[in-house]
Subunit: 643 residues, 3 copies
Amino acid sequence: MHLGVCYYPEHWPQERWKTDARMMREAGLARVRIGEFAWSRIESEPGRYDWQWLDDAVDVLHEAGLGIIMGTPTATPPKWLVDSMPDMVALDRQGRLRGFGSRRHYCFSHAGYREQAARITRAVAERYGEHPGIVSWQTDNEYGCHDTVQSFSPAARDAFRLWLNERYGDITALNEAWGNVFWSMEYRGFDEVELPNLTATEANPAHWLAFRRFSSDQVIAFNQMQVEILREFSPGRDITHNAMGFYTGYDHHDLASDLDVLGWDSYPLGFLEMFRFSDQEKLHFARQGQPDIAAFHHDLYRGCAKDERWSVLEQQPGPVNWARHNPAPLDGMVALWTLEAMAHGAELVSYFRWRQAPFAQEQMHAGLLRPDGEPAPALGEAQHAADIVAQLGNVGQPVRQAAVVFSYDSEWITQIQPQGEGLSALWAVFDSYRALRKLGLNVDIVPPHADISPYALVVIPCLPIVPETLAASLESFEGQVIVGPRTGSRTIDFRIPDELPPGPLQSTMPVKVTRSESLRPGLEHAGDGWAIARWLDHVEGTMEAELVAKDGAVASWRAGSRRYLATWPLGAVLDEVTSRAVSEAELRAIELPDGLRVRRTAKYTFVFNYSSHKVAIPEAIAGAPITGLRELAPARYAVFAAD
Amino acid sequence: MHLGVCYYPEHWPQERWKTDARMMREAGLARVRIGEFAWSRIESEPGRYDWQWLDDAVDVLHEAGLGIIMGTPTATPPKWLVDSMPDMVALDRQGRLRGFGSRRHYCFSHAGYREQAARITRAVAERYGEHPGIVSWQTDNEYGCHDTVQSFSPAARDAFRLWLNERYGDITALNEAWGNVFWSMEYRGFDEVELPNLTATEANPAHWLAFRRFSSDQVIAFNQMQVEILREFSPGRDITHNAMGFYTGYDHHDLASDLDVLGWDSYPLGFLEMFRFSDQEKLHFARQGQPDIAAFHHDLYRGCAKDERWSVLEQQPGPVNWARHNPAPLDGMVALWTLEAMAHGAELVSYFRWRQAPFAQEQMHAGLLRPDGEPAPALGEAQHAADIVAQLGNVGQPVRQAAVVFSYDSEWITQIQPQGEGLSALWAVFDSYRALRKLGLNVDIVPPHADISPYALVVIPCLPIVPETLAASLESFEGQVIVGPRTGSRTIDFRIPDELPPGPLQSTMPVKVTRSESLRPGLEHAGDGWAIARWLDHVEGTMEAELVAKDGAVASWRAGSRRYLATWPLGAVLDEVTSRAVSEAELRAIELPDGLRVRRTAKYTFVFNYSSHKVAIPEAIAGAPITGLRELAPARYAVFAAD
Amino acid sequence: MHLGVCYYPEHWPQERWKTDARMMREAGLARVRIGEFAWSRIESEPGRYDWQWLDDAVDVLHEAGLGIIMGTPTATPPKWLVDSMPDMVALDRQGRLRGFGSRRHYCFSHAGYREQAARITRAVAERYGEHPGIVSWQTDNEYGCHDTVQSFSPAARDAFRLWLNERYGDITALNEAWGNVFWSMEYRGFDEVELPNLTATEANPAHWLAFRRFSSDQVIAFNQMQVEILREFSPGRDITHNAMGFYTGYDHHDLASDLDVLGWDSYPLGFLEMFRFSDQEKLHFARQGQPDIAAFHHDLYRGCAKDERWSVLEQQPGPVNWARHNPAPLDGMVALWTLEAMAHGAELVSYFRWRQAPFAQEQMHAGLLRPDGEPAPALGEAQHAADIVAQLGNVGQPVRQAAVVFSYDSEWITQIQPQGEGLSALWAVFDSYRALRKLGLNVDIVPPHADISPYALVVIPCLPIVPETLAASLESFEGQVIVGPRTGSRTIDFRIPDELPPGPLQSTMPVKVTRSESLRPGLEHAGDGWAIARWLDHVEGTMEAELVAKDGAVASWRAGSRRYLATWPLGAVLDEVTSRAVSEAELRAIELPDGLRVRRTAKYTFVFNYSSHKVAIPEAIAGAPITGLRELAPARYAVFAAD
């Protein structure tokens, strides 16, 4: 694994660049990511390129021994370009402009912009494709950031019609597939289809699902266009992109299939603050991040990536500027996050950013250096991490224990029709992941088409559309299986399957869901230390009731190694079902103390303390650590040889 | 009373229709409601009618012995029609399009659409007007659903100007009536008047009130247009429309005066979840509905309807898809709701829908059948209800005890100027209704022009505009009267009356309101077990203080049989005033246990258990029930012979 | 000090005017404010003036002995004017029209409207400029009310480009100043700059700050245009404008520099309800107003005004119509508020309004008279106040004790980038003001360029941009100084200063802020009875830690008479630091009981009881009061001779 940093030479005087490069090397950094917002400096007027400064920057960094990750600047088209085709900007769901003045002000469906993006990508790729300092390429920056995947522009509408025509072939097929007869929503031709926003009440969910797929496909096509250019002009270099946290705007499985390495941007404190954790968790882990946030994304994106090649392209180094509240991490957390990425198999951890910019939108975003160029606290942690990373060397293959299945359309479906407020497939997956991790297990998050044979346990928390391939894999799978609610509840076109949920999974477990209820918070069926909450499926079939509430409602059903969880995967009932299945899978579980997490590779066992107090490592992890202590201070970690 | 069901033959293969019809009859259903969303199937291209399928459906249902309620399909104009005149869609208050892709995507004021609606109504009426299977007609579907009465389109603006011209005659009269001098808002002609949205701050409340009246009148005119066509082509059949719950977008008294029967759509669980009940009530009655929701609407719409002819055109049969959370009703509730409608005098209860549709927007809305065509739990309850309905026969006239007065403009006024957050005339009426019902009384909800002589007690919870007719009725009325705050506080044009509130009611009670305060929750004047909260009127006059708070503030005033409630009708203070008036009215009150409700007709006394536990029927209701037990399980009812 | 009242003769029959004028005089009122909404009555058609009614009204009032404050009617342009140039209305941040139908429906940048406003101002000024009854002029009405300073119209965009051109001279300077390189936001010319709304994500904070400055400057220029006309046609009369509460949309220091007297509109109950007080305070002071609200604005606007000449142009007389809840003040509060304004040096307190209008938007807004023309409770209080005011005579100069520094750009900066949710410079200033006032001190709120030499203590709670003049004043200042977080943290163009915060203040205290954190509510470092909450600065330098939390975090640093508060100025930590500095400043502090407040002038010491219970005046204020008692009932006050 390499360490790296994100750097913007265009923000600083050229005379400082050598100092910066030298300091990076001294801190143990080997990679530097540049260029992704520099369009207005590369091409300040239409067609007038200014390469000199970037040539110089590349040379300085290369000469210092840094490998360069070069970004294409397509996330920030300059004003002159927008003015030349004002309809290139996206419209939001309310029909409002999302224009120039920040970043990501383009509609993925605008053909003119796609041409311009290809042009600038080609220009940069031609210039630097063969430069020896360039080790890899990043396409654009954070596709979808600021909710920019969906556009409701005329360009998007026209492209959507073409996409539908290609997918359905004739309009009758579309009408039939979507059930458009329902409210006289039938079309006579594809050119009658509108975007699903601004309807009097909610549009057909099939309409929304198609639009979500289309919107995702537009991102994939935009990216693929860049990938092809980069492969042409810079053969042999890895191509990557930086995904985000808790973000499902496009299908990352699709995107990753065009990339060599999938990157992501890890901001544990910001994510804790901004996403759906309880107020209690937000306080408890305010300076560490909830202990599964980073690992969840490591494992999610590793599961998306080709050959499991992934990296952290941006790593939080201190307080950020964009969360509701922005505390500093505990001393040690930056190093801990770095080592945890290593434990999960990252190729690279790149800190964002080298030096805090004293101007513009992110001026309150910390860097490894302060705005005045002096070291910030994270610089020392990076140096420390670099030393340990070097000491540990290759960590070896991950140990396979449990898999959790996730698909992006699952989350789209629960967003489109939650049926009960706040119910989300993504968070069902996160909670299932957490339930397994609290038992000290390695968890892979895999797509429905993954090979599940290496695992002793497969959990499918909420997968409305079950492909036949998954149904088939499960039929021959010999491990333990937990299937959660809404799984198999929809066809590819957002219909309830004729055979009722769980649809094709009825081939692997004798259960049919005849009625589903969503329950407001507080409306519960109490069990023995657990409760049915938020959701209840009523079923027919021959499975036996395993967890039965005091009033007779059934939380989970089983038939041999298969379990059907009839309530939402949440809290104690999820822990109970998970631990039963883990036990029957004969996986080596450890009840971890609060805030402790474990990751096992072929060579090492890593233990991380996310809590804000001292914790003794359980005896189940035996022996003396290679690094660290058996009693871990807050924000500290230990590494053991694998047993 | 008949039972019926809502059916969409166009959703299912024609070969299934006979089976469905047979199963309906076997379940005891006599009516079937069809057609209201089928425009794109009736007229798939402009002017190209396809009647065959509907002819067949009508014949199959008729031949099975079902009486058909045929809907006009004007709630769902097809895409080709919208494309032929894109300005037929409404604009919302923010000026955004409310376009095609769901339903109700039309502006009531658009002349072109009104012509098209007349054309399709005429076509359907001509085709089936004399068909022996057709027993009645429903116009459109749920006028106002998804907040579609108010449109802020150019068509609406132009129609509003004409409407104002007709109402005020000359612009000086309008300026004077509205007090437009206030902020130089005076117009020189009707063509200067804009819609009241998108003003820099709130528009003149008189402007809003006129716009609310206009918007209501546009609905009435649209409906009247259809009624005239139906009467021409299908003489002798009843004409109905399905109103909604807690909905005041148009004046239902006006609408009902053009209909033979007023229907409404009863979704007790969805309404509980979505309307302003406390979290505690939402949990306590999650699977039953708060016990006054259905009855309130039964009595409200009975009070609106010509000759008190009313029905339930849609009855919730299981979980729905549109509330924030969608639990299933307790076993027995579907039958209980059915019998309660009967007790309140319904002509028809029609379940919505026959079979759960596995596609489109409402795929999570339960039916009497599951999506796979098998019986859902409600089918058995419908069958049970049909048996009891048949056994009981005609229930006889309602017993008249207390009346609560409501007018739609009351709610418009409190919405336009709540003065204290959340204060609403509609909910003041609901709370007053509930206070009476908890005492086991029959309550009629009547318009201000109603004959009040049959009642021993009249409550006017919040009626800002008091017509002279009501003031006159009250002068000669000998029963008890409770008048609540804001009553008589406005003229017809939203001005404070010269003589101050309660305006014309000063002829029946010697009170004048000189100052009104609204109070934030928690700011209370404590009385003896009750409190003044949310509102306090300070008065002059010769009434005597009846309920005086510890700090001397007066909650209610009385003069003989007249009471003026100077605080918001809510909670314990409302119960206290109500029970004093009930007692002086010598009405037979029963303090009902939690969740129990009673309804008396000339022949029967019905008792319903809305609670989730077993309840003994009070001894005040004597004897052995005709059906049911003296100790009622949850979701069970008993019927006694009237005493 | 004079008392006055706001009056709208155009709302009432002419035959009533004399009665009104007589009653005003009888109540002790000497001033009457008229005319500011009467454009449609003055000019009912383009160019057709109707002066007769206004001539008559002016004469009637003048003859009764009232001095008239005449308003220009530019806040309410009539419909015919708007129709003649529809683009004169503002657009809101979402791009929506803010049109005719209420008031303030104009864009300050629209040249055509500015011409029309000049024309009507000139017409009124010509007509009445020399009338002996006119004692002063008010420009427009409540600039910025209903959030109307910022407009996102094409007119505003064009004016903004000109303004930028004038400020920056060439576009490269702007790009450099704003750091537009950051996301390729560089412009090639001023005509490429857009307004900062409707960007894909947040615009550059420097862009927003420039737009806030521009928007403020447009108000100042609009006002200056009127001032020049009024000075030409009505020389020797005072010119004033009525500012609002907790409002920072434009720079009041700038506005006041063009006026003779700065007025403001005081609604203590409405402000308490609508602004960021806790629910507990909203209940506790519901009928009085939190005890620092009125005084804070008195002192703020006195600090803005030329020669400290200020007045209350609208004084709440009872329940208002515009807050979420609108209770009545306690008996006595109207008089108390009046006397408190006197104690702080007001020239005038004018009640709003004379008679409650029974029509239009404000019909629930109380007056001195009821809608029926009878006295409302406030009339008697005004009469009482007039008597006391006459008895006390001139109160003498204020006693100078402590100063709090505030600038309007401080609040703009914390609004643009709060960094921690809800953190606001304005409220930091309010809380610091309150902390001092609870100690019985006189507090002046002064701009950064003020002369601070008269004070023993200067508090700078949150002043991101510190002008060199202030840094220089502080260097030679010998009193105590408290500097709060974010002070000196930005340059004029919203950049972090090269030397890091507190920027130029490093010349007066040896401290450098190297890292800042914002903390969610609940995330605290506990001290000894106080806590670090919401914010924590980490610093370098040679100041000594004064308040250290149990975990070692430092709340405040000191070096001699200078203190740097490293946490948000809030609650107990603020009280602790304040009281230490007050003590070292040797200011005479009194720990006041809940709700009691004190104000000292050269002649008097005023004591006000804002609590809802009886309070004994502390012995530190010795002797017998000139008026009032030593034990104050709720809503009562006492006046002592100065000691």
